[in-house]
């Protein structure tokens, strides 16, 4: 219940700026917050093309274990980087601390230091593709 109130507050805060009035669920015309029409990006469009080098591809493949052998895959990757790069055009105030979570004023839940779990080897290893005498997981080569 409490969380819901906070969520309300948050929504009020962001909508207040737009409508300049207190937000009211009943007044909502559409029962969704997803815009119903195409919204033009408020970001500056960047047209600079991104090129990924051969070495970078090898490194990325190694890091992510994603196969980038096909040309189309590399194109998707380059387009993705280009799309995400728009974020660099946003002007941010260095003096404002970034918001990582809307619940930042809430305390993290802590747990008493007690053993309440474990000894479920069978469950834990159930999904293993390969094991060594059902004792160890065996990693792929």
């Amino acid at each position: 219940m409490f969380r819901r109130n906070i969520l309300n507050l948050f929504i009020q805060r962001s909508y207040c700026n737009i409508h300049n009035k207190i937000f009211n669920w009943k007044e909502l015309k559409y029962k969704t917050k997803v815009p119903q029409n195409v919204v033009k990006s408020i970001f500056e469009e960047k047209t600079e093309k991104i090129k990924v080098t051969e070495e970078e591809i090898i490194l990325l493949e190694k890091l992510s274990l994603v196969d980038l052998e096909r040309k189309e895959a590399v194109k998707v990757l380059e387009d993705s980087i280009e799309f995400a790069s728009k974020i660099h055009n946003i002007k941010t105030d260095q003096n404002i601390e970034p918001l990582y979570t809307v619940l930042e004023n809430y305390q993290l839940k802590l747990r008493e230091d007690k053993v309440t779990d474990g000894n479920i080897k069978q469950d834990v290893m159930k999904n293993a593709v390969k094991t060594e005498e059902e004792t160890y997981f065996v990693s792929p080569k």
């Binding site: 930042e104 993290l108 008493e112 053993v115 309440t116 160890y136 990693s139």
Partner: protein
């Protein structure tokens, strides 16, 4: 993260450098920074309720969260937060009222989630420092104090363990260690050689022993040291550094760093270049070997951990609420730290700095010292420390008995101290009494009695011994020398008298008496 098991040693053995290195060049300066991973002494893991255990059956201390089964969420262990704060306070840190968790991504088979939860942007504590004694085994008289700054202290998860089966060419994974709580202590590069680094680790272990946040069994990997080593010439910029990973003993820290410094010097003196790489210390061959896992700069793709809210602490009040740990309460419960013990020994017990360092450096010895003095506060601190450091440790070493395994009680040692102070026993017989004590475990008084080691301090008897020497051929010669002005001969005469009394005679009385006789 522990990568010690990941290296296929055989394939990189041919990269090993020769142990014969060029002699040390005086113009090079070495700079060392340590990163230390300490497993927190807790019952359960950092984010799950499975047991924090070293010796459990393989893959048994694993919860679904530790195995990264989708749908599980981490819940932070309160004890680990308290342990982190306690350690940070002992290391004079600034504690962050709000700290945050981040994901650090690795692709390793013993890290099932593909990331480690750690604290990168806003760790639990920052900006600490530690002052510690540097007491090298060779030159004990040249002991000094050194201060090192602590950059930050963060909470993080340990990874699982990989074992390589060379025969079957497979990697076996045990997740018992996955999720065990760690404190990572990142020190600034303020150290200048291996001995200082070893002394820092030693002091940390002493602190951990007192505040009990880490059990420090290095052989079980509870305390793991990474060392960043570089060399440069006076006035120059810092050199390129190499990182030695996972050194597993205090002596290993000193040896690995000394080896690496010498290796870098010999590379540079031969016109070579040091490359930024990770190296592994091989305790058997006493060399560092290049590891192959860091050929390119790793991108850890840090991101805020979305499953954990920021961790808040109560900085002002001494009340412990459910989800809010009080820093003040922990501050109050902080025990006396090693440096305070040393100060007490120097200021109140009037011992020298070096004696205080040696006593506090070994908890067993310090506790014996404390017990002996407590039993009878009139005992001289100097005599007690002298017997413990010079006679007791030496006798233990001679019998190859670890100090912690010795069964000699503080009251028996106290008896020896009392006999010394009451002039019933000569100091040079203490080692013999201790040896008998190891063998028979009789009381020292009985040992002295039975072996007739009691000090001779009866005047008439002393005169008998004096005369015996003075009347011998050699004695007469020495008397002549003494009378012709060589006053130092007096000690030689006294030495002779001591010898024929089997080290039992009261030497102070002998010298006084000799001076009188020969006047």
């Amino acid at each position: 993260m522990n990568r010690i098991y990941k290296i296929n040693i055989i394939t990189i053995l041919n990269r090993q450098f020769s142990t014969k290195l060029a002699p040390k060049s005086n113009t090079w300066k070495s700079v060392i920074g340590l990163e230390i991973h300490a497993q927190i002494a807790s019952e359960s893991k950092l984010f799950s309720g499975s047991r924090n255990s070293f010796s459990a059956e393989i893959n048994s201390s694993v919860s679904l969260l530790d195995a990264a089964i989708p749908g599980c969420l981490p819940v932070l262990n309160r004890r680990c937060v308290e342990a982190g704060i306690k350690t940070a306070l002992a290391l004079n840190c600034e504690i962050n009222e709000v700290s945050m968790f981040d994901r650090k991504h690795y692709f390793y088979s013993d890290l099932p989630a593909g990331y480690q939860i750690t604290q990168q942007r806003k760790p639990l504590a920052r900006k600490g420092f530690l002052t510690f004694p540097v007491l090298t085994p060779v030159k004990q008289s040249k002991a000094y104090y050194k201060t090192v700054r602590l950059h930050q202290l963060q909470l993080e998860q340990d990874s699982g363990k990989s074992l390589h089966d060379e025969e079957l060419k497979i990697s076996l994974i045990d997740l018992n260690r996955a999720g065990i709580p760690l404190m990572e202590l990142v020190f600034e590069p303020d150290l200048s050689d291996g001995e200082e680094a070893a002394a820092l680790v030693k002091e940390l272990i002493l602190i951990f022993e007192r505040i009990q946040t880490c059990n420090c069994r290095m052989e079980e990997g509870q305390l793991r040291v990474d060392a960043n080593v570089s060399i440069n010439k006076e006035g120059e910029e810092l050199g390129v550094r190499t990182e030695i990973k996972n050194i597993g003993s205090i002596r290993g820290v000193a040896q690995a760093i000394e080896y690496e410094i010498q290796r870098q010097i010999s590379v540079k003196d031969q016109g070579g270049v040091i490359i930024n790489e990770t190296r592994q210390w091989n305790a058997v061959s006493k060399t560092t070997i290049a590891m192959r896992d860091k050929e390119v700069v790793q991108d850890y793709r840090y991101m805020p951990e979305p499953n954990l809210l920021p961790l808040h602490l109560n900085m002002t009040e001494d009340v412990n609420l459910d989800d809010l740990v009080s820093v003040k309460a922990i501050e109050k419960s902080l025990p006396i730290l090693p440096q305070e013990l040393r100060d007490e020994l120097v200021n109140d017990h009037k011992l020298t700095q070096v004696t205080a360092m040696i006593l506090v450096n070994d908890t067993v010895i310090y506790n014996l010292y404390k017990d002996i003095i407590k039993e009878n506060p009139k005992r001289s601190a100097k005599t007690v420390s002298n017997v413990l450091i010079n006679d007791y440790i030496a006798t233990c070493n001679k019998n190859k008995i670890y100090l912690e395994d010795s069964k000699i009680s503080s009251s028996h040692l106290g008896e020896i101290i009392d006999m010394l102070e009451n002039q019933e026993l000569n100091h040079n017989l203490v080692k013999l009494v201790l040896q008998k004590l190891f063998e028979t475990s009789q009381s020292p008084k009985v040992i002295v009695e039975e072996n007739q080691w009691k000090q001779i301090s009866d005047d008439a008897e002393i005169i008998k011994y004096c005369n015996q020497v003075l009347e011998s051929e050699n004695g007469k010669k020495m008397v002549q020398q003494y009378k012709s002005g060589k006053t130092k001969v007096l000690f030689a005469i006294a030495g002779e008298i001591n010898k024929i009394s089997n080290n039992r005679i009261n030497m102070a009385k002998v010298t006084d008496m000799l001076k009188n006789i020969l006047k």
